[in-house]
């Protein structure tokens, strides 16, 4: 990847970021500690759409290879891992999170003080985000000879039928049994388990509530947080959802952003344009976003970060928490039809008062990216907003040419200026 010279804005970092580093460190150290001899805390590798509350309620520590992929990507370190996976026969066309992880697994090297992720006691993958994770987790299960549970979610294009909800709910019940067995514990008595689950769900609800408040605060002009803040601050809602630490952290972020709004402080000095980002971040090129910031373009929303606000379990759900989870986990952004996705996107553009949208067409991620051309067309033709489609990848920088991207960004900025 050749990096063209480009004037960049310096980030106005959130004070909360300092605590974030500590949270990330603590999380991964906790996972390594769990693997020490005599530790009794089992570790599960889970996908970002896995019903993690069940594992937490069972005392299992979840870790996220996708998040690890993002971490490696943001250190611009993914390519050698991807290459190791490719040498073993995994096609370069496969998702780069998967290749990064498989490469790290096969070589026994990693980016956490040189270590790969700690060995799993259990693997849980949910198909709700893509078919990739099912296959990737199968590879992992073979590698570690580790029990694997697949949560099979029907595609919820136009909502869910009762049979579909029942199918997913049944699997959640099955997961309780399978997970307990995998970590060599007796399955908990149903009443006790439900009590623990409800506690975790309540913590998830609190965190997603705060997360949504944060997104709402970004409606202000100037916006108190742009894409970089949000991409960085995604870690707890993905990885620590269902814990008190997550709630505490977002309370802090929410307060800080509310304070910025009160004082009229924007994340991007001289905010002129308000943009929306679609798809995963380009982890190895945050400078692209800084370049936009330097020109007064701020991100007021991302479909990617917004997606984590969906897990809103209500007190109503207490009657049937597993049923509620079956619905929530089937209706996530990557498992709904294009029509619903468009509706959500339009609502978001309106609510955040966006002037345009940037679509990262991410080669790795078919579920997120296929359909974007139609979404971009709709935003342009039906809402009359400028759109920019960037062909790239979230971690594998070999699939990305920064030069041509810059040219397209400049043209997009001109269009925004002419419309302003």
């Amino acid at each position: 990847m050749t990096q063209p010279e480009r004037p960049l804005a310096t980030d106005l970092r959130l004070a909360a970021d300092r605590d974030l580093k500590g949270l990330i460190l603590k999380h991964y150290l906790g996972a390594y500690r769990a693997k020490r001899p005599f530790s009794r805390r089992p570790v599960a590798w889970v996908t970002s759409g896995a019903p993690v509350e069940i594992l937490l309620a069972l005392g299992i520590l979840p870790i996220y290879p996708e998040n690890y992929g993002a971490l490696v990507g943001s250190r611009k370190a993914a390519v050698p891992y991807c290459e190791s996976a490719e040498q073993a026969g995994y096609s370069q066309d496969l998702c780069s999170y998967a290749r990064t992880n498989i490469g790290s697994m096969l070589t026994g090297r990693g980016e956490l003080a040189g270590r790969p992720l700690p060995r799993p006691d259990l693997l849980v993958a949910a198909k709700n985000i893509c078919d990739v994770v099912v296959k990737w987790w199968e590879v992992t299960a073979r590698h570690f000879d580790c029990p694997l549970f697949i949560l099979d979610t029907p595609f919820a294009a136009d909502g869910l039928t009762p049979d579909q909800v029942a199918y997913v709910r049944g699997q959640l019940e099955e997961l309780v049994v399978v997970a307990s067995k995998a970590v060599r514990r007796p399955a908990p008595p149903p009443a006790a388990f439900e009590r623990d689950l409800l506690k975790v769900l309540d913590l998830t609800r609190q965190a997603t509530g705060l997360w949504q408040e944060i997104q709402t605060l970004r409606q202000a002009s100037p916006t108190p947080a742009s894409a970089l803040d949000m991409f960085t601050n995604l870690f707890p809602i993905v990885t620590l959802r269902g814990t008190q630490a997550c709630v505490d952290y977002y309370r802090q972020v929410r307060d800080e952003l509310a304070e910025r709004v009160r004082r009229g402080v924007g994340a991007v000095p001289g905010e002129r344009f308000r943009l929306l980002w679609d798809n995963i971040a380009i982890w190895y090129d945050f400078d692209l976003v800084r370049y936009l910031h330097a020109r007064g373009a701020a991100f007021v929303g991302e479909t990617y970060t917004d997606a984590w606000g969906i897990y809103q379990f209500s007190p109503e759900d207490e009657k049937d928490p597993l049923g509620a989870m079956a619905r929530q986990y089937s209706l996530i952004l990557l498992n709904i039809g294009l029509g619903t996705r468009k509706e959500r996107l339009f609502n978001m553009l309106r609510a955040q008062r966006a002037d345009g949208a940037v679509f990262h067409s991410c080669r790795s991620c078919k579920t997120y990216s296929l359909g974007q051309y139609e979404l971009a067309r709709a935003v342009r033709d039906e809402l009359g907003l400028p759109v920019l489609v960037l062909e790239a990848d979230m971690t594998d920088s070999r699939a990305y040419a920064a030069g041509p991207a810059m040219t397209r960004i400049d043209a997009f900025l001109e269009l925004l200026t002419s419309k302003a």
Binding site: A88, G89, Y90, S91, D93, L94, C95, A98, K127, C130, D131, V132, V134, K135, W136, E138, V139, R142, L148, I150, D152, P154, F155, A157, T161, D163, Q164, A166, Y167, G170, Q171, E174, G337, L338, G339, S361, R363, K366, T367, S369, L370, G371, Q372, Y373, E374, R377, E391
Partner: protein
């Protein structure tokens, strides 16, 4: 007979019967029995090879070329004479092609997504699959020209399809014992025709063809000494990749392809009595890479290699196909552990880029001839 089947496979839409409505379907997991029982002629929609046109404005180039070409065909009006299209849940690419077609299809088009489970095992899988197949049957009954799927109609349809599969099974045995008479590429072309032609005609032709080939195979022959190969992959838009292998001096005697054995071989040979039984039967058939768990498929491929005494395997990997690409290294290792060398070829837009592939294939065949198990 052979010509008619092959021609139908090459151009399914031109070979529709005129006395009843036709319905397109995508994926061998769509139970054609249900479409037949609902009064339609089922046409397995393929994809024309070659560069795509209108689909490029809807799907990025990293969707598999089969999904793109399929969408392209639909957008170019190829579904115009059909009563609708049934898709099945396999992979992200096909799901996206279906979603894109929903956006652009003419108003009122019938589009059904058969939301089959990805898991083949588990407490609720059978019940759930049955409910989805029932939903398909109900939906078809509501389409113009459709009718209720009654027990008798279903029985008749399952008999017909089972019959057809049995004849294909007989032909498969001929392909294995006498690939000089029935090359693998021709076998697949015939199998392709069998999901395009009106099914009772197809069943009749296949039975007669099987008789003929079996009689011919019974006559003594000289062994040709060509290495026996197994091919593994997904859907093939054309037989070009298979012909290329044969031209390189090997025989294709067994397959793990959507069009071939995976569709033909069902675990039990009985005829299901209800939609629920039918659904269960599809779950127990030879699985594809998009289904979980993967081990039954790996075991199946190794067993197939043993049964047909193949010397090696060729993987025909559709470019950008995630399910197959993820399975490839493990399946390669499983096959190679039995002393069988393998070769990987990438298929795009229906064919294998022949220049380099030919050289690699010839070297591969040479190695097999030399008895080269060790690499």
């Amino acid at each position: 007979m052979l010509e008619r089947l092959v021609a139908a496979g090459a151009d399914p839409l031109a070979h529709r019967p005129s006395d009843r409505p036709s319905l397109g379907y995508v994926c061998s997991y769509v139970p054609e029995e249900v479409i037949l029982a609902a009064g339609f002629h089922p046409v397995r929609l393929g994809a024309r090879p070659g560069p795509t046109g209108p689909a490029d404005s809807l799907l990025q180039t990293f969707a598999c070329s089969f999904a793109r070409a399929l969408l392209d065909g639909l957008l170019s009006g190829r579904a115009a004479g059909l009563s609708g299209v049934v898709f099945a849940y396999t992979c992200d690419s096909l799901r996206a092609a279906m979603e894109a077609w929903k956006v652009r299809a003419p108003a009122g088009s019938f589009i059904h997504f058969l939301n089959l489970p990805a898991r083949l095992e588990g407490p609720g899988v059978d019940t759930y699959a049955a409910s989805e197949v029932q939903r398909l049957a109900d939906a078809l009954a509501g389409v113009k020209g459709g009718r209720q799927v009654t027990a008798e109609r279903l029985a008749e349809a399952t008999r017909l399809v089972a019959d057809l599969r049995r004849s294909l099974g007989r032909l498969d045995r001929v392909r294995s014992s006498r690939p000089d008479l029935l090359p693998g590429s021709v076998f697949i072309a015939v199998a392709r025709g069998a999901q395009a032609l009106e099914r009772s005609e197809a069943a009749r032709l296949l039975a007669a063809l099987a008789d003929e080939f079996e009689a011919a195979a019974a006559r003594p022959s000289q062994p040709a000494g060509r290495p026996r190969l197994l091919v593994s992959g997904g859907y093939l838009e054309t037989e070009q990749p298979l012909r290329l292998i044969e031209e390189s001096g090997a025989d294709i005697v067994a397959d793990d392809l959507c069009l071939g054995w995976r569709r033909i071989a069902f675990a039990e040979d009985d005829e299901p009595n209800s939609l629920a039984e039918l659904a269960a039967r599809y779950l127990r058939r030879v699985p594809c890479a998009a289904k979980h768990p993967p081990d039954p498929r790996f075991d199946f491929v190794v067993r197939l290699a043993d049964e047909h005494q193949v010397a090696g395997g060729v993987f025909l990997l559709q470019k950008f196909c995630d399910p197959h690409a993820f399975d490839y290294p493990a399946l390669r290792d499983r096959l190679e552990a039995t002393g069988r060398p393998t070769l990987l070829l990438e298929v795009e837009q229906g064919s294998v880029a022949s220049g380099q592939a030919r050289t690699r294939l010839e070297a591969f065949v040479e190695r097999l001839r030399a008895g080269g198990g060790s690499s």
